[in-house]
């Protein structure tokens, strides 16, 4: 096992799949010589050339629809959108086209397309370059949605996404790019739709994904010192959602808190809360399930405030303490 960064894991997953299949094509802005806005594709142009590296004009809606069209006749595009915030510009391609064409055509076509985008706050990029927009897509039948938190998961899940014959959204948190983790040299994939218990525990289920996972793991360590043994569930995929793992964890711990970066109101946590409420786990609850999410505001440029709008370790610790006391 080698230690690589999250960024490297994403790059390796793409490179391996592009080597294996010439029809896997990376599509996006400044992905070539520049190597991508965050450097994810640095050096890939040399290996794959312009045939598999399609550098686009600033035409997000257009190249998403273009890739979607190409995907119906043999291409397996990986569409990189420079910032997740700009997914607004491709939401039509994803929601009205990629997600629906197989269905609308009675199964005549498939849309093997991957959407990739960095997202999240914490870089001082302000309101239009820092959002976590999963809720724009989680209510769309036909889409699969992945939010990996570790290099291992990122690589295995991205490879599965590329091999999937349908549209898959893959969101990469900017602050995770430089984080490191063990990744086997040997080829592997991870099934989309399976959560992972990143820390076993008995007293409460802290359920999270992407950048909030390390926050929750650190909170769990602090709680352990107080004798609270938290289980940390990494959803990894939001859609399909692994309700079985969630339910079993909550049945074991009888308490739960869901943590994400997106604003709390209307955020994905509501779906997780409901999945618990609708399952037998509800009858095991010793306390109401809580949600921790971003503050109800756009991401401010002011760095003091930017730090305050997303859940931090203390928030998780405090909430868990309160719930466990109940």
């Amino acid at each position: 096992m080698a230690e690589i960064t999250f960024l490297q894991a994403v790059k390796d997953a793409m490179s391996e799949e592009m080597r294996a299949d010439r029809n896997v094509v990376l599509v996006g802005e400044d992905i070539g010589v520049y190597g991508g806005c965050f450097g994810v594709s640095r050096g890939m142009l040399d290996e794959f050339g312009t045939d598999q590296m399609l550098e686009t004009p600033i035409s997000e809606e257009g190249f998403m629809d273009l890739a979607m069209g190409a995907s119906m006749v043999g291409m397996r595009p990986i569409v990189e959108i420079m910032f997740g915030d700009f997914s607004t510009l491709v939401s039509d391609g994803l929601i009205n086209h990629a997600a629906k064409y197989r269905f609308m055509t009675g199964g005549q076509v498939q849309v093997p397309l991957v959407f990739r985008a960095p997202f999240g706050s914490g870089t001082g990029a302000a309101a239009q370059h820092s959002q976590s927009l999963e809720s724009m897509y989680t209510n769309t039948p036909g889409l699969k949605i992945i939010y990996p938190a570790t290099p291992y998961d990122a690589k295995g899940l991205l490879k599965s996404a590329i091999r999937d014959n349908g549209p898959v959204l893959f969101f990469e948190n900017k602050l995770l790019y430089r984080t490191k983790g063990e990744v086997p040299e040997a080829e592997y994939t991870i099934e989309i739709g399976k959560a992972d218990i990143k820390r076993e525990g008995t007293d409460i289920s802290i359920i999270s994904y992407s950048r909030m996972l390390p926050v929750c793991l650190e909170a769990a360590e602090q709680l352990a010192e107080e004798g609270i043994n938290a289980e940390v569930v990494d959803l990894r995929s939001l859609k399909p959602l692994d309700t079985e793992t969630i339910i079993n964890s909550v049945k074991k711990t009888s308490r739960a808190v869901i943590v994400h970066e997106a604003p709390k109101f209307g955020g994905f946590a509501g779906e997780v809360v409901s999945s618990i409420m609708e399952s037998e786990a509800f009858y095991y609850l010793d306390a109401p399930v809580e949600r921790l999410g971003g503050k109800e505001m756009p991401v401010p440029y002011n760095p003091d405030l930017e730090k305050q709008i997303v859940p931090v370790v203390d928030d998780v610790v405090g909430t868990v303490r309160k719930l466990v006391k109940r």
């Binding site: 029809n23 045939d51 686009t56 004009p57 035409s59 809606e61 257009g62 190249f63 998403m64 629809d65 273009l66 890739a67 979607m68 069209g69 190409a70 995907s71 119906m72 006749v73 043999g74 291409m75 039509d92 391609g93 009205n96 086209h97 197989r102 269905f103 609308m104 055509t105 009675g106 199964g107 005549q108 076509v109 498939q110 849309v111 093997p112 039948p141 036909g142 699969k144 999937d164 014959n165 349908g166 549209p167």
Partner: protein, 326 residues
């Protein structure tokens, strides 16, 4: 001197035009009788395009007509029954009854159909053509869209990409003077939409869209050039839709005089006159062809009676991708 069809092709072309005309008349009747639900956009008056475009292409060239595309779909190979069955929402419809009038997609005949999002098929078609090119195919893609669709940003983004990547896609703008109720002379800032090609360094031309021989010969010329020398072309065809935009259109936005003028230029009547003059048809043989076509459409409609529709379970099977090779 102007291109002329030989006798055989003349008769085939006329039959195609009559089939398109009669099919639309029948669909209109059935809507009035409430036998078809939803909505539809009829192409009566634009038959020279239906009979002039697809027949000028290779069997394996793709088309993407717009929402007013029944005639194009028939011309590309789908039978009136295939489409009527779709409108009747039965299993034997081209999209198993899941798509409806706006989404007649029939991949057997390389018809990727229209998107209900006006203009979005333009970048999709561009992506398909790009993939055909990189996979070494000599086939091209031809997409038809209206005057109003040329005001969508998707048009701009797609044509720019087609130009910089030399994509073999034939853009046919069916300028029928209106987008729903809005006159092109109001909503489109240029007299000839073809000139928009100059904004992308794309060759372009304007022709009479009601002269089937001109449409056919032009498309053939352009498609053949495109095979030899892959690059996009923007062809504008001037035509007119006789009926309302969709059912429930009172057509208050245009005059009876204008409608009458254009009916004077009926593509079928004009072609009929030529064929009579050339001695390819007689009044009698023409009437015979018409009744044959009517009978064919009636039979196709009859055949839909009592046919089954797919079940919810089967439909659910098309929401997400199926795995394995595609």
């Amino acid at each position: 001197m102007a291109f002329e069809f030989g006798k055989k092709q003349s008769l085939e072309t006329m039959r195609l035009m009559l089939t398109s005309r009669r099919f639309e008349e029948k669909v209109n009747e059935m809507f009035m009788q409430g036998l078809i639900h939803g909505t539809t956009h009829l192409g009566i008056g634009q038959e020279a395009l239906h009979a002039g475009v697809s027949p000028a292409l290779d069997r394996d060239d793709w088309i993407l007509p717009n929402h007013r595309g029944h005639g194009h779909c028939i011309a590309k190979g789908s039978t009136p029954y295939d489409i009527m069955a779709e409108l009747m929402a039965i299993r034997e419809g081209v999209c198993k009854g899941m798509g409806g009038s706006m989404h007649i997609i029939d991949t057997r005949y390389k018809n990727m159909g229209s998107s209900g999002i006006v203009g979005s098929a333009i970048p999709m078609a561009t992506g398909m053509a790009l993939q055909l090119k990189r996979s070494g195919s000599k086939n091209i893609v031809c997409t038809m869209f209206g005057d109003a669709a040329s005001n969508r940003g998707a048009f701009h983004e797609a044509l720019n990409m087609a130009s910089i990547w030399d994509v073999p896609v034939l853009y046919i703008c069916e300028n029928n003077l209106y987008g729903m109720s809005v006159p092109a002379r109001y909503a489109v800032s240029v007299e000839d939409i073809a000139v928009r090609g100059t904004a992308y360094n794309i060759e372009n031309r304007v022709i009479d869209g009601n002269d089937v021989e001109l449409v056919y010969s032009t498309v053939k010329e352009l498609a053949d050039n495109m095979r030899k020398n892959p690059k996009p072309f923007l062809l504008e065809v001037k035509t007119y839709r006789w009926l309302g935009h969709s059912k429930s259109d009172r057509r208050e936005y245009r005059t009876k005089e204008e409608e009458a003028e254009w009916k004077e230029r009926c593509p079928i009547a004009m072609f009929r006159a030529k064929l009579l003059e050339r001695g390819y048809i007689t009044e009698k043989s023409f009437e015979k062809m018409k009744t044959d076509v009517e009978a064919e459409i009636e039979a196709a409609t009859e055949k839909c009676r009592g046919k089954e529709r797919i079940s919810l379970e089967e439909a659910l099977g098309y929401v997400y991708s199926s795995q394995g090779d595609i």
